[in-house]
Assembly symmetry: C2
Homo-oligomer: 563 residues x 2
Amino acid sequence: MSEKVIIIGGSAAGPKTAAKVRRLSEDADITIIEKGKFLSMASCGYPYFVGGVFDNRNMLLCTPTGVLRDPTFYMNAKAIKAETETEVVAINRAEKTVSCKRTNGEEFVLSYDKLMISTGSIPRMPFKEGLELDGVTTLQSISDAEYLRKIRDEKKIRKAVIIGGGLIGIETAEALRLAGIEITIVEMADQVLPYLDWELAAHVEKHLKTKGVNVFTGMKVEKLIGENGVITAVKLGNGTEIPCELAVVAIGVLPNRELAEKAGLEIGAAGGIKVNSFLQTSDPDIYAAGDCIEINHIITQKQTYSPMGDLANLQGRIAAENMINGPEVKFSGTIQTAICRIFEYSAGATGCNEKAARAAGYDVETVIITGPDKPGFMNGLLLISKMVVDRKTGRLIGFQCTGPGDVSKQVAQAALAIKGGLTINDLRDLDLPYAPPFSLAVDNFIACAHAMENKLLGRMKGISAREVRKMKCDNTSKPFILDVRGPDEFEAMRLGIGEVLIPLGALRKRINELPADKNHEIITFCKISLRGYEAALILVSAGYTNVKVLEGGIMAWPFDREK
Amino acid sequence: MSEKVIIIGGSAAGPKTAAKVRRLSEDADITIIEKGKFLSMASCGYPYFVGGVFDNRNMLLCTPTGVLRDPTFYMNAKAIKAETETEVVAINRAEKTVSCKRTNGEEFVLSYDKLMISTGSIPRMPFKEGLELDGVTTLQSISDAEYLRKIRDEKKIRKAVIIGGGLIGIETAEALRLAGIEITIVEMADQVLPYLDWELAAHVEKHLKTKGVNVFTGMKVEKLIGENGVITAVKLGNGTEIPCELAVVAIGVLPNRELAEKAGLEIGAAGGIKVNSFLQTSDPDIYAAGDCIEINHIITQKQTYSPMGDLANLQGRIAAENMINGPEVKFSGTIQTAICRIFEYSAGATGCNEKAARAAGYDVETVIITGPDKPGFMNGLLLISKMVVDRKTGRLIGFQCTGPGDVSKQVAQAALAIKGGLTINDLRDLDLPYAPPFSLAVDNFIACAHAMENKLLGRMKGISAREVRKMKCDNTSKPFILDVRGPDEFEAMRLGIGEVLIPLGALRKRINELPADKNHEIITFCKISLRGYEAALILVSAGYTNVKVLEGGIMAWPFDREK
């Protein structure tokens, strides 16, 4: 007897479920029902279509060999029915049917043995006034992408405001900025990219600014202002009006759970459809996957909303397995891995950042390091990394990285390390793929573990750029700030916060130039704070009791520097 | 009382040990003794200096900020004595001294509390005749690198033979080929890059050939032939003479263990100096690290010779820790991770390849997949990957990858997965950093785990390109070979081994065109064998009992194809 499988939603999790069900059962009767016109949209690619990385919109909708993934494709290649422009208006759990309505008004009912809800997400909209104006959009659909791409190509619009400095906001800012549009990002939090801690986000913000993008953090948008139905400005919470001809609302998404709620399915603590580890909803014949569900956070074991395209695909595959042969395959959850390109920078994170880890009750140690991804002679590019470790177990629970270097590999390594439950002892002698075109002999990730080990063992006391800056601004303490680089380096670039230069090579002889009081607070640094660390060890050995290393050195300093 | 630490060898492990000892003890009396002129040579960078990636040789000898790592640097920055052009001629364990001899003939004796032997490796030389000729070199030292760089710059030499198709051989071939020199690689084994299995090495060989490099595998070199003391040809075992003006011998290295042997220290089964997990030799006050030792293989638990620059550094750090505070920190061993750039390709591996795993007694399952590293619309580049899993535990024990795509990240992910002891169940829903500029929604590594899962569960039976080719050459069986791509794809490129084209979308209707005998062997494929797999499932469902998928599809076919 052939299993009837109905799948609501044709973007990522849905088609993946359908394809996998077919692979598991040549007999299953499979139907995808999609509200919109398109199927299997590569929605993470929208910003790159908008930005002109490619011109053929259909690349977002095609198989790798260029076949459009339309209902005909699904029927021919996979014997899957796909009903587009058709909405499921109700799930009737008692009868195990779904009530459907086509755009043309036609209504029909289909019965199911197993049902998948993969209805995705809806954009968050924090305010209401002005959202109806022309020139206001999100970047959530193919038609949004086409709208913004047209703006790019027409080159008429000169000023745009991106509301929201998260992943989509930043990607959209990049795409439109590359088209020559003047961009302002307005973000309510005190930083962009909330998956990073402030110290790393500050570098992203700095890079955005060097690319001509204005960034306002800690700033709420009050409303959108228009004339004759067309946007003219974004009004901020402090009264400022930013003139613009385009506003993109990108403050994140919410699970599209309405249909599930109406059907009486349980909603979880994080606001998504609640599923068990087999991805079953509170009705065991109804599965859910993708951006409409909440999932387990592998580290904190808390329910988490993590709407990511890669997870949607992986969930679809597991749900299909459970529908046909299960339920027995568990989805293990998320560690909230994320990455984003920002012009020449990338910024990624996995696990808990420091904020999240502390909020979850962990006693953490953190360290920031900087360094090139490859040797200087191979034109290595900068990486700025932050590691978060649970002091109790020594386990890696979070890692973030940004800079122009190969961030993606660093974050991928960390994601696997977290998955394997690795501790700092495990990371300190990793056998990684080393050759000069790819990494340093001691890869950045291992170097980060070494610095972390030094901190955990009490050999290094660190202080962040933000803390040093605050200290200087507040004028609360008067640390002796010691730059141990060479005179040439000092000449070329310096912090300009009253630091004293004593090159490391001269420090042992010139130690008498330091404060006589051995309890005076001393902060050491160099370019990346390796020499800074060596200097600190010399000072500690000389009896200084309060020596801290500026973590990551000058390269991790996100504030203005003297040149 | 200050600890006297003497370090023999100033390349990688030695200076790392010295620097770490200093960080652990400001009091220690540290001396590095180096036979050659230079210290802390980035020897893995030699091929890139030869190839002209950078012009200043001193970049191989400098700190990242451009300070030459000479004895003055070590003394000033680290308070470490460094004696260059000085050889340790004997270790006198009873007195705890070393007898030293300078190049100028001067002799002296130093006493130690702790000794580090980091004497590195010596080149393997498989034959003797002709090695003395002008135009014969290795690429093992700065002077070798300078010699080859001069050849590159002078543009006089037109033909060179590289003896050995391993990592250094390939890197040297690339460097000299980029200088316009006609290159022939001669390799005794039946493939290049022994850390790969044949199927992947064949792709590297193919790429070398497209770059104009001649490759002879399965071929021994008998001797070098010269006239007037200058090389004129390399004579192969089969009698062929390859004319050349330059021969680079790069058939690998051996541990430089002579000094240790003379001192009565134990030598291990793999030919290197034997050390325990604290990196102590058979004399607990004498440590050894780097290319002169053998180490534990984490997977097979066998003693292994793994002369890699990254491991040398990590070992140096651990040995220093044990000298000063231990012994208590263990070096965990190697998984023999390696990577190499070959023109536009990279090729890397970690863990055991299939050969090694089977030799070590594992019952393994393997799978080969192909696919782009990023979406097509982001100009994704090909990756060809092979995974090796221990059937008993389901654990990943090996992974290899080659192609123009981001190989380094794939191998790094696998290295971490192996370190974490992850199984296929752990890998199938990894939360990796996904965004279109960095990877596919289902990353290649996860896709490989999915294919492996399908094989382990018996859902997919695979066959390698090599087996199919052998089948056709031997004419032992007459499988029905089914290409399920589209007609356009078939038109553009095909295997040309008598395959029949039935596009996947038509297969269900045209199944009657297949052999009537349901036990007939059928081999399915497409571009990357995802559609090939779906086709196989359709056929199995239709009652065919002997259906195999050509793993990796056309993209994994390393032999000639019809265009």
